[in-house]
């Protein structure tokens, strides 16, 4: 079962590559923000799985909870920051 957990963790890491593409080459800033949010929500589960692998779930669940809070606050603050910037997004129309 622990072997299965490590397989799931590796698969999650592979899935994270796809939003990373969106982070690197996203046409707008908000696209990158969406990618960061998706990576963060996968990281929460990854932390829980790492806790199972090390046999210390009681410690890693706190880290996962804190990471979920941090991810939420980061996305909220960044999207508030990009509120007022008009005209940043002209390049985004991919016809």
């Amino acid at each position: 079962m622990i072997y299965f957990f490590s397989c799931i963790a590796v698969a999650l890491c592979l899935i994270m590559v796809l939003p990373l593409y969106r982070c690197l080459f996203g046409p707008t800033v908000l696209d990158r923000l969406v990618g960061v949010n998706a990576i963060g929500s996968k990281t929460v589960v990854l932390l829980l799985l790492i806790g199972y692998l090390y046999g210390r779930v009681d410690m890693f669940v706190d880290i996962a909870l804190a990471y979920a809070f941090l991810n939420f606050v980061a996305v909220l603050a960044a999207s508030r920051y990009f509120h007022k910037r008009k005209g940043l997004y002209e390049e985004s129309f991919m016809e």
Partner: protein
């Protein structure tokens, strides 16, 4: 009994993995930023729910009061994500709207 627990845990973990994969592929494939939010915000939420459910079912192997508290803590994460994910999605959409980003519409409909 142990085999049943293992099968249920594997089932839910695999389902969560499929949801996560769907969200990631949706982020890549969708045409514009508004429609990208649909898979990103929601499939990830359900993915976290399914995976944590699988882990909690795996916890049932050795039941004690500490493991119960651990499972409640895990569901606290899920509850928080269910509250936070719509807020984050709405905040990003709001930023896009105020920046004047027009949504992608289908070309064939517009003639």
């Amino acid at each position: 009994m142990h085999i049943l627990i293992n099968i249920a845990a594997i089932f839910f973990l695999a389902m969560g993995l499929i949801f996560f994969l769907g969200g990631a592929v949706g982020i890549i494939r969708m045409p514009d930023f508004y429609s990208r939010l649909h898979p990103a915000g929601k499939l990830d939420t359900l993915g976290i729910f399914a995976m944590v459910l699988g882990l909690v079912i795996y916890n049932l192997h050795h039941f004690s009061i500490e493991v119960l508290l651990l499972s409640i803590k895990m569901f606290l994460i899920v509850f928080f994500v269910f509250l936070a994910s719509p807020t984050a999605t709405h905040s990003i959409v709001d930023a896009g709207m105020r920046a004047g980003l027009r949504p992608w519409t289908r070309k064939t409909k517009k003639e």
